[in-house]
Symmetry: C2
């Protein structure tokens, strides 16, 4: 039998990345493009289909060489049905059964999940949380995404919406959040908030990358910004740690580049604010798989689902 | 084969309750006594042993008629080893292997767990959360206890300390909590806090029972106290609901007697503060099994553990 490949897709608010992975989840090739030009949802779907075709033809692969296509998407998904409820940052999507649309056009098995869940799945199977039973994974970016690992598996909750670490409120009368709540973690540690704070301190525009570099080099103002981010993160995580008593918390995404100053503050705040048994247990790790975690998670999703249905066929 | 019974023990900060349950978890008889007079841990352990003997002799039962003894305890427990780490409200206990002590003296299988976990187990198997996959259970008393049900089972976490709903912080600069944190739910909705607030409003001492009765009858000041409690509960639960996306939240304990005014406020706050997909899913239920939930949970714990080891014997 010849080697089988999997196609992973990671759709973000501004970019789409598509990867060809081998059966060991090694990334063989990647396509990336901006999504802003695709105003209508039909055009974006067609762009995904075209990219799958381009990837397979570039590598002279047939349909039979591809196990399936996995997609990580930036919004709530009904994983069982393969339906996108909506995307907070891409308009025009409302209860779209993307799985069945793509399966019809591609004639390949297609599986969808939330992007943060797929990052968590990848970190849990191959990354920083590998071999751990219970973990909480976070991606810090424009928003704060998260995924919950229970007994080594993604825990998706009763309507596939678990893991919203960014929407743990930390202040009763805190600022309004896009989700409709108040004082959610995300309003304090989202990218835009960090950049606004940094601008006030440095009295000029500054990128996240520069802010991270400055902190790593010991700039006290940059350290102040990151310490505050770490403190708020630690505070929300203290509640999650008391509730879930996990082995580890894995933190990834652009913001994690701030490194030691951020991670030390998160650890310190959890020691200070969480209960002793839970705080002593939990390790705080930096995500290992970087920006490809979503593509790897999408491939794992395909493999897991196909193996599950294969097992079921053998049982019945 | 004659019918088998289980002995359940529910140790609180001030009282110990011991029950005889049949194989359908029906409570046949109950003993209760205060624990304050037992200063030394050895005396309290002896009192438990004496009560087990009294219960069996009262009902003319032999050791072979008893499946085992289950204990619900007010503090962190290593469930696997059967060790009490410590009790926040009973001094003199530090890493005591109560399971092995009792098994030696009683010559019966003994299993321990945290009291809130056992209440949650009972509500999940026979009470308000029966048949649901994912739920969060709370007991509101002196403190706020909690248990997490995932896929129909108690989720205990990586060091058996999961479920501490009372220690989700809801205000960054909130009042100090006994756990070492700040602004934990428990500092706002613990019994003492509620009674202090009520005293300020009514300008006299008032019991929780009276405060509940007054609210049920429409007294506006009592309603104000309970609304505030419900709001704070709802706020902490909004974070837990966003994180875990459960089917239901089950609320029990003395404070739950406040009834509709409390539960309506919890529901309203969750709708207002939690994310829409999660808020639409979650039902808020009052606990069904009342003060016997702990004894019933202790009996279920014994049964579950013995069946598990029985299954293992059959496999090997």
């Amino acid at each position: 039998m010849s080697e089988k490949f999997i196609i992973g897709v990671d759709l973000g608010g501004t970019n789409l990345r598509l990867g060809l992975l081998d059966s060991r989840y090694k990334l063989k090739d990647k396509i990336a493009f901006g999504t802003k030009k695709f105003i209508r949802k039909e055009d974006l779907i067609q762009a995904i289909i075209d990219s799958v075709h381009k990837m397979t033809s570039d590598h002279a692969l047939d349909k039979k060489d591809i196990l399936g296509v996995g997609l990580g998407l930036p919004g709530p998904i009904n994983v069982r049905e393969g339906t996108v409820h909506f995307f907070p940052n891409i308009s025009g999507w409302r209860d779209v059964n993307l799985k069945s649309i793509l399966e019809k056009k591609l004639r390949l098995p297609v599986f969808l999940d939330n992007d943060a869940n797929l990052m968590s799945l990848a970190e849990s199977k191959l990354g920083a949380a590998k071999g751990l039973k219970n973990a909480l994974c976070l991606t810090l970016g424009t928003g704060v995404g998260g995924g919950v690992i229970i007994n080594g598996n993604i825990y998706r909750g009763s309507s596939f919406a678990a893991g919203e670490v960014g929407h743990i409120p930390i202040n009763e009368r805190g600022p309004r959040c896009n989700c409709g709540g108040r004082g959610c973690l995300e309003v304090y540690v989202g990218n835009q908030k960090i950049l606004r704070q940094a601008k006030r301190l440095f009295k000029r525009d500054i990128t996240l990358e520069e802010l991270s570099r400055l902190a790593v080099r010991g700039n006290s103002q940059a350290i102040r910004v990151w310490s505050k981010v770490g403190m708020r993160l630690g505070l929300a995580l203290a509640g999650a740690v008391n509730l879930l008593n996990p082995d580890a918390i894995v933190i990834g995404g652009g913001v994690a580049a701030a490194g030691k100053v951020l991670f030390d503050q998160v650890r310190e705040t959890i020691i200070l604010r969480a209960m002793s048994v839970q705080a002593q247990k939990v390790k705080i790790y930096r995500a290992k798989l970087g920006p490809d975690a979503g593509l790897i998670g999408a491939a794992i999703l395909v493999r897991d689902n196909l193996e599950k249905s294969h097992d079921l066929q053998h049982v019945t």
